[in-house]
């Protein structure tokens, strides 16, 4: 069986898998960005306890493999009564620990990206904002973060792309993502190579679409650089 035949016969598997991958990636990226922002602010905090915690968190997450984190989160949080049922064919009790582990991982990397973006904004901007009577929080929200976002967009896009690819490890917990379904098709056809090509093309397509979207956003942010 060639690649076209396999795809035509088994496309529902690939489609279902892609759906799960997209949902998991999307939620992970969103959670990772929000929490990453939070950890970055803690990391830059004047309070030792906050910055110390953020530093420790980043060190631990960056220093251990994602797969190990996934298993630890899964087994450690086994006592949590994850909600029953499923959304779009994705079993919640299985997928929620995965999303949690992936987000926790993404958070650490995003935090470092955001921190460097914030620190790259000229300190004069902060001084000017404070001199106008703004509080530190107001200066951060109105002046620094909008400029930092522009700095970090390329690096953040990189992290998003990485995350889409990294979600493939959730197959080890039996979550029906793209790679999990790929495995089913391989077993059914005894013909692995075309299956992997199909999966590769799907991942590539997802990331190209994501890349285009980020390009568009970046261009819109550039309006103040003319």
């Amino acid at each position: 069986m060639g690649i076209t035949e396999i795809f035509l016969n088994y496309y529902q598997y690939f489609l279902r898998g892609t759906q799960t991958t997209v949902i998991v990636s999307l939620i992970t990226v969103l959670l990772g960005t929000v929490l990453g922002c939070l950890i970055a602010l803690l990391r830059l905090s004047r309070f030792r306890l906050c910055s110390g915690f953020a530093k420790l968190y980043i060190t631990v997450i960056r220093g251990t493999p994602l797969l190990v984190q996934l298993y630890i989160v899964y087994y450690q949080l086994h006592f949590i009564p994850w909600p029953e049922g499923s959304i779009l064919g994705v079993e919640l009790a299985r997928v929620m620990p995965c999303i949690l582990a992936l987000s926790m991982n993404s958070t650490a990397y995003v935090a470092e990206v955001i921190r460097s973006g914030i620190q790259a904004v000229d300190f004069g901007q902060t001084e000017a904002a404070l001199s106008c009577g703004m509080t530190r929080t107001q200066a951060m929200v109105n002046i620094i973060l909008p400029q930092a976002v522009k700095n970090i967009l390329p690096a953040l896009g990189n992290e998003f792309v990485t995350m889409i690819k990294e979600t493939s490890i959730i197959q080890y917990l039996g979550v029906g993502d793209l790679m999990y379904n790929n495995g089913i098709v391989v077993t059914a056809t005894y013909n692995p190579l075309p299956c992997y090509y199909i999966s590769a093309i799907i991942y590539l397509t997802l990331n190209i679409v994501l890349g285009k979207g980020l390009d568009l956003f970046e261009r819109r942010m550039k309006c103040s650089d003319r």
């Binding site: 000229d122 001199s131 106008c132 009577g133 703004m134 103040s224 003319r226």
Partner: protein
């Protein structure tokens, strides 16, 4: 002892950066309506002094009273103080992510909670005064240095501060743009705006200043009216400094 017209009362102000003693005890009073011009050689602590006045630098020792309250007290609401003190920087520091109009209105809207239409009306009127109303929708990156600095002055004035601080407002400008910025500052002085100006423009100091502070080595070495300082300096260091900066060709 705080008479009605006293704005700043500075007592024994000291500032260290690590082991480096930059301010070694500043004592002075700044009254309403005064145009205090701070001159002195590089590294004499002029900028540090003016930055202490709106607490961008936290004094190591000493007290600063502003309109009767001690702003160097622990727990004093620093941002409330800064609302009343306008600051103009050497590097302009316009908000790069905002248009010119937004640069002027943002503190009105966010700090003083002025409704957007009123803030914009006020901002446009101020922009018109410095001849830059047509730049309202431009971004800082599209402006010349002189234009940026005029906007920075407008941004500070929009808050209707009790005093304006200028930290070397023309030092980062191309020579042909110095005049346009100084004339805006001079206009404000004529209107009776209280200001403290750190500058190397001796002609401006002489013409606009009501009092000159000559700083050297972290202290005020000599102070007086422009006539006293420029025509009859008493301190050797003042004489030495002026002989170096006033070039007779």
């Amino acid at each position: 002892m705080t008479a009605d017209n006293v704005l700043f009362e500075i007592k024994g102000l000291k500032k260290n950066f690590g082991d480096l003693e930059v301010l070694k005890g500043i004592h002075t009073t700044i009254r309403k309506g005064e145009v205090v011009v701070v001159i002195g050689p590089s590294g004499s602590g002029k900028s540090t002094f003016i930055r202490c006045l709106n607490l961008l630098e936290t004094p190591t020792e000493g007290q600063i009273f502003f309109e009767g309250s001690c702003i160097t007290d622990k727990g004093y609401a620093v941002h409330k103080h800064r609302e009343k003190v306008g600051m103009v920087f050497q590097q302009f520091n316009l908000f790069n992510n905002l248009t010119i109009l937004e640069n002027v209105t943002i503190s009105l809207k966010k700090v003083k909670k002025v409704p957007a239409p009123a803030a914009e009306e006020k901002a446009r009127a101020l922009l018109r005064r410095v001849g830059l109303e047509d730049k309202a929708d431009a971004y800082p990156a599209q402006l010349s240095g002189g234009q940026k600095q005029r906007i920075a002055i407008v941004r500070a004035m929009a808050m209707e501060p009790d005093v304006m601080l200028f930290d070397e407002p023309t030092s980062a400008l191309d020579p042909e743009m110095v005049g346009e910025v100084l004339s805006v500052i001079q206009d404000l002085a004529k209107e009776g705006v209280t200001m403290v100006v750190v500058t190397h423009e001796m002609g401006f100091a002489k013409k606009v200043g009501t009092r000159i502070l000559f700083m050297d080595g972290g202290v005020i070495a000599e102070e007086g009216t422009p006539q006293q300082i420029f025509e009859d300096p008493q301190n050797e260091r003042t004489k030495d400094f002026l002989s170096k900066v006033i070039h007779v060709i």
